[in-house]
Structures are given as structure tokens and as C-alpha cells.
């Protein structure tokens, strides 16, 4: 192994350069071998300190042993500071190692934090873990969310209105694959970017919400920033458009906007808002549910065009198959 470290001259780049996307790329500068002698170290000569020794997760893993080992419920309350980063991630790794992506039954581990969470709060959170944060959070909350549940609520008796206040930072739920999120407040930019499966409810977002999203469901009970749904190719979003200007803020390049009429959609939307109210006590959610008949028509359903076509084709094919099978049953009978 040691002999090979730094031997870029042994790399064969032909295959990659032949690919149509990489055509014409000149990798020679990238693959330059610096002309240095033994007086310069070009490989790892000392271990790096990643600062993991004192992290909050070590404490969480210890406190959640019964859940990790026997699936027994654990409920905790802890303070948190913005020095605590990627909280819940190492804990998730212990669950993933033992139970895989199936994780634990919902809410097996429930931890309530109070304070300001540092970056990547609940990143890659496993199924079976619910993190409640009373306070606010820095960027990358729920990055790569993997089945866990994250709830963020403002502290009690705040003087600001949460619907108009950023409670979670930028780029929340980046690349989330599964799980749930309920945020009583608004998010910074790029909320749910590259989300591929998480189901989340929030009271408002910054610019570029649902950018490059490929799956999952996002409900926004208020204003979004501009360029919503840019490059969104899958999943669906429901946005409460009370000022009638959402269309201007939405990037229509790949999506269509519809009213929420299908019974299935109405059920999904209502259930998610009810859950939001239940978890966060959002006054906004209560207002919407209290006058549901008036509010429902104000929701815009954002649907990627190609995704919709594929869903329709799949539905039609399914129906056809179903009819065919019924005919066969009749014929045999």
C-alpha cells in the first residue's frame, strides 16, 4: 500500500476521458506528480484529530444503550449549543450498524433538546429516532435524513411571530431519503434541496426551496422565496398561496401548478398539517385547519411535469393490467 501512495503515474485515465460527458478533459495537471524528495511528506505522516472525543453523541450513545441493544424506548431531555454539530449522527450509525435501514420502531428514542443546535443537526438520522429541538438550528439540519423524525419549535413565550422568523438555517434536509420533519417557523435558503423521500411541513421558506427535489412531500404553510422548485423532477409540494403570487416565485421550468382536488391529495395534505399541529402546536397550522374549506382552494400543488406523466402512465398500465387480470378471471370462470 505504502508503495502505491502518491503514484498518480500508475493511474489509467482513459476510461473516464472516453465517457461522453468527460470528453476533451485534460487531466494531466490533476495527475501531475510533484517533483519532491524525501524532505517533503506526500502522504499521511501524522494522525488527524477530528475532535470527536468530546462530542455530544458519545453521551447520547451511552444514554441510549437499552434502545440500541434491546429496542427499548428511551426518552431524554438535554441542552444543546451551536458547538454541538451533527447531533444524532453517530447515534444513528449505531442503529444502522445493528438494524440496517429498517432502524427501530418509530419514536423508540425521543430526545428533546433546548438551545441553539450547531450545523447538521439530525444529519442522516435513523428510523426510530425523534429529535425535538426547542430553539433554533444552524445550517444543514436533517441533511441526508434517513428515516428519523425532526421537530423544531420556538421557545415558549417568544415575542416574535414564528411564521415570519427563520428558525432553521440554510440547506435543510439536503438529500434526505426518508423520514419526517415538522418546523414551526421558516427556513433559510434551499430548503429540502435534493430531497428524495422525506415528508416535511414548514411555515415558510427562503429562496430556491425544493431545488432539484426528486421525491417526498413538502408542505409550506406560507410564503416561499423566489425560484421555488427549480430543477425539481420528482416528489410533490403543497404551498399555501394566500397572496396569489406564488406562481411568480415558482420556477416553472420543470413543474406545473395545480389545485388540490384529488381526494387522495386532500387526505395527504390534511394529515400532514394535522401532524404538524400535533407536534409543534403551530398557530398557523391551527388557523389553516380551523377554516379548512376556505384554505384548501388556496393551496397550490407543485408537480413536476415528467414525474406526473410517469405516474399517470404507471397508473394507466396498472389499471390495464388489473382489467386484463379481471377479464382472465371471468373467462376462466
Amino acid at each position: 500500500m505504502k508503495e502505491m501512495i502518491g503514484r498518480v503515474d500508475k493511474l489509467k485515465a482513459q476510461k473516464a476521458v472516453d465517457h461522453w460527458k468527460a470528453k476533451g478533459l485534460d487531466l494531466s495537471l490533476l495527475l501531475t506528480k510533484p517533483e519532491v524528495g524525501p524532505e517533503v511528506a506526500t502522504s499521511c505522516i501524522q494522525a488527524q484529530d477530528h475532535g470527536l472525543a468530546g462530542i455530544l453523541d458519545n453521551q447520547l450513545v451511552e444514554l441510549c444503550q437499552v434502545a440500541i441493544e434491546g429496542g427499548e424506548p428511551v426518552s431524554l431531555e438535554l441542552p444543546i449549543r451551536n458547538l454541538n454539530r451533527t447531533t444524532g449522527t453517530v447515534l444513528s450509525s449505531h442503529i444502522a450498524r445493528r438494524y440496517g435501514s429498517e432502524g427501530l420502531p418509530p419514536d423508540t428514542i425521543r430526545i428533546k433538546f433546548t438551545g441553539s443546535a450547531g450545523q447538521s443537526f439530525g444529519a442522516f438520522l435513523s428510523k426510530g429516532i425523534t429529535l425535538v429541538l426547542e430553539g433554533e438550528s444552524n445550517d444543514y439540519l436533517g441533511k441526508g435524513l434517513s428515516g428519523g423524525k425532526i421537530i423544531v419549535i420556538p421557545p415558549p413565550n417568544v415575542t416574535y411571530s414564528p411564521e415570519e422568523t427563520i428558525l432553521i438555517g440554510n440547506t435543510s434536509l439536503y438529500g434526505a431519503t426518508a423520514g419526517e420533519g415538522y418546523f414551526y417557523g421558516t427556513a433559510g435558503e434551499r430548503f429540502a434541496v435534493r430531497n428524495s423521500g422525506a415528508r416535511v411541513v414548514i411555515d415558510g421558506t427562503g429562496d430556491h426551496g425544493c431545488e432539484y427535489m426528486t421525491g417526498g412531500v413538502v408542505v409550506v404553510l406560507g410564503k416561499t422565496g423566489r425560484n421555488f422548485a427549480a430543477g425539481m423532477s420528482g416528489g410533490e409540494a403543497y404551498v399555501l398561496d394566500e397572496d396569489g403570487k406564488f406562481r411568480e416565485r415558482c420556477n416553472m421550468g420543470m413543474v406545473e401548478i395545480e389545485s388540490v382536488v384529488a381526494q387522495e391529495d386532500i387526505r395527504t395534505l390534511r394529515a400532514m398539517i394535522e401532524a404538524h399541529l400535533g407536534y409543534t402546536k403551530s398557530a398557523n397550522a391551527k388557523r389553516v385547519l380551523d377554516s379548512w374549506e376556505i384554505m384548501l382552494p388556496k393551496f397550490a400543488k407543485v408537480m413536476p411535469s415528467d414525474y406526473k406523466r410517469v405516474l399517470q402512465q404507471r397508473k394507466a398500465a396498472l389499471a390495464k393490467e388489473h382489467a386484463q387480470r379481471e377479464r382472465e378471471v371471468v373467462n376462466r370462470g
Binding site: 510533484p34 519532491v36 524528495g37 524525501p38 524532505e39 517533503v40 511528506a41 505522516i45 484529530d49
Partner: protein, 476 residues
């Protein structure tokens, strides 16, 4: 990084030392000023590396925000650069002048070119800051009502004191000498750092509320029990002043002195003090400095300025290679031959040589007897038949330090020592004695100023933690 091609366009530059024949006539600092435009170009050489090794564990101990302020200087945003610099380093004017700059030997550009002139940039940022009046007292938001005694006023003690006073504690610095500053005051010669540089910083600290008490030798004039009456915590930052001795015949002859006695005297002389006791001077003398390190170099520089007629420096270890040795690859601190300003000023350097005896007439040293040595299985072995004699009038012993001075105060405290004889501390920099902390050379052995500042800051954090958790050593 304002100029991505800066390192390809500009060569490394720095201020020049004043001509030898001029500078040895005074004790003023060695360097000529460096023009602002040229300095900005030096800032442009920084590559703003993805992994800035200047800030790694091989680089800057206080983790200065080097790429940030390199860029800010290049853009001419001096005030922002100063702010960034002060967030990690209390005293950049000391390190800018005196640090051997491990950041530069770890600089990525140093792999195949000359590294960025980091130290000179740091130095200029802070000197400009003082010139422009940007260095003002930073007053604490409130007072905690807690009192801390800092024993020793070198860079570790001062850094800790400034951090603690800014956190709202009342801080008293106790210094056994007649002036504040420790080795910065009486160890570092003026030609490396003139003392007004220290005084202007002490002035800021005084305005921030630090109380300085000189002429107080803890263990003699006061002790821990007495300190308990007035203080909630004690920080030991008393250096590592125990010199390594040379126990050979003739050591007691007149004219054989410890480096620190010699250097301290000259600094007092420049400060205008009337000297007590025997004066040590190199004027008209043949001088041998024993020890090849920085202290030895400071002795040489001082001897040149006093007007010695001959200067020699003897080092026990063999001569290191001219360039970085393979055993200390980049980004490590390199083992290599270092030629200081004092060597430039004239010196005969001898390597692999061990002093065996001093002899003299009328109680004064006149001859140094030495022998060549080789290393065999980690042991120093004299080479038979290699004995040499040299005529000498003044011998200065600069062979390093073996740790903090223990007899008396430290022993009486009952603090635990590590295997190298330094005071041991836990992760909060607290010794085994509750509420008694240690930092700097007292804790790590004789080391760099930048390490003293780094440890002073960390120890201050430990003391703050102790006080904030409601603990105290105070007797009711």
C-alpha cells in the same frame, strides 16, 4: 484569495536586516521597514489552501487565521486583518518579531517554492494597528467578582491575564523581578524586540484592569496560604528557569557565566538601570558561547554589540544539514542548519564539541579545554586525541533549561511533576492541587513564545471554567 496566480508572479520577499557594520553599533531592532505595496504582494502569494497546513498541528500553535489575514492584507483591509489576528493571538507583535514561524515551515507553498512570508505579514498588521491607534482596551461586559492570581509575567502569564480580565475576572499578576514581562523583558535582547513594544501592550492591559505587582516572589514574599486569602484561583506561569549546568572543573572561575545573567544585565543597562554586583561585559574579550540554540545566538549578538574581539559558539550535537533533513519532512518543523543575524555578524561555529575543563589565572578563566565527540548508540563519546584548547576571557553557558525552578515554592505546593520534570496538569490545565493551574514553560518546559501564548489562553479557559462552576480556593 484575491490573486489566484500570486504565488506564480511574485517571489518571496521580506524586510532586510540593517547593514552589519551599522547595526552592531546599537541595540535597535535588526530590520529595515518593508514597503506596504511589497507586503501586499506577499499576501497575494498565499494559496488559501483547502487544507491549510500553516494552521495544522505542525503549524501555528495559536491557530492564527493565516489565509484569512493574508488575503485581507493583500486587499488592503488592514483593520479587518488586525481583528482576525487578535481573535487568536493576544500578542502578535511578540510573535511577529520573535517566532521561528513553524507556520512557514508547514506552508504548502514551501513544498516546491519559498513559503509565504507569514511572520512578516503578522508583524506588519499589528504594528500598523498600533500606529493607527486601532489597538484599544477591550473592556469586559461585566464583573464576575472572582479574583485570580497569575504567578509570572512572561508571555504565558500575560496571555492568560488578558483573557481572564476580559472575561470579567479581577486579575493580579505577581512578578518577582522589578519590571513586568519575564523573558520578554529580561531574556530577549532589545535588538530582537525593543522594550517599548512590550510597554505599549502592558499599557493596554493595565487599562483593561490587570493589576501588576512587581518585586513579589511567590514562595518568599508570599505563599499559597496567603494567596488563598485574596484569590479564588492561582495560575502558575513562572517559566522554566532552571538552567542546564556544565559541571566541569573550573566552572567557578570568574568569567564563566550563565547566559540569562548576561542577557538580563544588558537589558537592564539599556533600560538605564544602575547595575548591582559584578558587571559582565564582552568588551575587548574573546568570547565562547556554549550551546548552539537561540539563547546562544542572543548572547553572540549582545557580545558583538558590546565589542568582543572574538566570538565562538560550541555545540555538542553534530552540524545539521543545510536544508531540511529527510527525518523531518514537510510539514514538520525541519532539522536544518540555522544561521542567525548574530552568526552573520561574525562567529566561529564548532560542532560535535564538548567542554571538559576551564582553567585560569588569579581565579579568572583564560582557557577552555574541549574534546571532539561522536554519538555511539545514543551516547556521547569523546574522540581520543581530539582535545583542543582555546584562549578565552568570557564563557557564556546557554545550554538550555531543564524545567521550572522547584526548590521552594513549587515543591511546597505539592504539585505533581511529569517525567520531564515539568508541572503536570489535567485537561483544564489544573494541577493536582485544586484551584492551582499551570501553563507555558512551567507546564511544557522551555519552548516558544507562541506556545506560551497558546497555553496561557487555554489555561485561562480552564481557570474560567473553574470559577464559572462556582469553585474557589479562597479561605473564608
Amino acid at each position: 484569495m484575491a490573486d489566484p496566480r500570486g504565488f506564480l508572479k511574485y517571489p518571496r520577499e521580506g524586510p532586510k536586516r540593517r547593514p552589519i557594520e551599522v547595526r552592531v553599533k546599537d541595540y535597535k531592532e535588526l530590520y529595515e521597514p518593508f514597503e506596504e505595496d511589497r507586503l501586499k504582494r506577499q499576501g497575494a502569494r498565499c494559496m488559501d489552501c483547502g487544507v491549510p497546513f500553516c494552521q495544522s498541528s505542525s503549524g501555528c500553535p495559536v491557530v492564527n487565521l493565516i489565509p484569512e489575514w493574508n488575503d485581507l492584507v493583500h486587499r488592503g483591509r488592514w483593520k479587518d486583518a488586525l481583528k482576525a489576528l487578535h481573535t487568536t493571538n493576544n500578542f502578535p507583535e511578540f510573535t511577529g518579531r520573535l517566532c521561528p514561524a513553524p507556520c512557514e515551515s508547514a506552508c504548502v507553498l514551501g513544498i516546491n517554492r519559498d513559503p509565504v512570508s507569514i511572520r512578516v505579514i503578522e508583524w506588519n498588521i499589528i504594528d500598523k494597528g498600533f500606529e493607527e491607534g486601532w489597538v484599544e482596551p477591550v473592556l469586559p461586559v461585566g464583573s464576575t467578582g472572582k479574583c485570580v492570581a497569575v504567578v509570572g509575567s512572561g508571555p504565558a502569564g500575560l496571555a492568560a491575564a488578558q483573557q481572564l480580565v476580559r472575561a470579567g475576572h479581577q486579575v493580579t499578576v505577581l512578578e518577582k523581578a522589578d519590571r513586568i514581562g519575564g523573558l520578554l523583558r529580561y531574556g530577549i535582547p532589545d535588538f530582537k524586540m525593543e522594550k517599548w513594544v512590550l510597554d505599549r501592550r502592558l499599557d493596554q492591559m493595565q487599562k483593561e484592569g490587570v493589576i501588576f505587582k512587581t518585586g513579589v516572589c511567590v514562595g518568599v514574599d508570599t505563599n499559597l496560604d496567603a494567596l488563598r486569602r485574596d484569590f479564588d484561583a492561582v495560575l502558575l506561569a513562572m517559566g522554566a528557569e532552571q538552567p542546564r549546568e556544565l559541571p566541569v572543573p573550573g566552572r567557578d572561575l570568574k568569567g564563566v557565566h550563565l547566559a540569562m545573567d548576561y542577557l538580563t544585565q544588558q537589558n537592564k543597562r539599556i533600560a538605564g538601570d544602575t547595575l548591582q554586583g559584578e558587571e559582565i561585559s564582552a568588551k575587548g574579550k574573546r568570547v565562547v558561547v556554549i550551546g548552539g540554540g537561540d539563547t546562544g545566538s542572543d548572547c553572540l549578538g549582545t557580545a558583538h554589540r558590546q565589542g568582543c574581539v572574538e566570538a565562538h559558539q560550541f555545540e555538542l550535537l553534530p552540524e545539521p544539514p543545510l536544508t531540511r533533513a529527510g527525518s523531518t519532512p514537510w510539514p514538520f518543523w525541519p532539522m536544518k542548519l540555522r544561521t542567525s543575524h548574530a552568526h552573520e555578524e561574525g562567529c566561529d561555529r564548532e560542532w560535535s564539541i564538548s567542554t571538559t575543563k576551564f582553567s585560569g589565572e588569579d581565579g579568572r578563566v583564560t582557557k577552555l579545554h574541549a574534546s571532539r565527540v561522536v554519538f555511539e548508540d545514543g551516547k556521547i563519546v569523546p574522540v581520543s586525541g581530539s582535545e583542543v584548547e582555546i584562549d578565552v576571557d568570557l564563557v557564556l553557558l546557554a545550554m538550555g533549561f531543564v524545567g521550572p525552578v522547584k526548590n521552594g515554592f513549587l515543591d511546597s505546593l505539592g504539585v505533581q511533576y511529569g517525567t520531564r520534570g515539568n508541572v503536570e496538569v489535567d485537561e483544564h490545565f489544573m494541577t493536582n492541587v485544586d484551584g492551582v493551574f499551570a501553563s507555558g514553560d512551567t507546564k511544557r518546559g522551555a519552548s516558544l513564545i507562541v506556545w506560551a501564548i497558546a497555553e496561557g489562553r487555554k489555561a485561562a479557559q480552564g481557570v474560567d471554567w473553574y470559577l464559572q462552576t462556582g469553585k474557589s480556593i479562597r479561605t473564608p
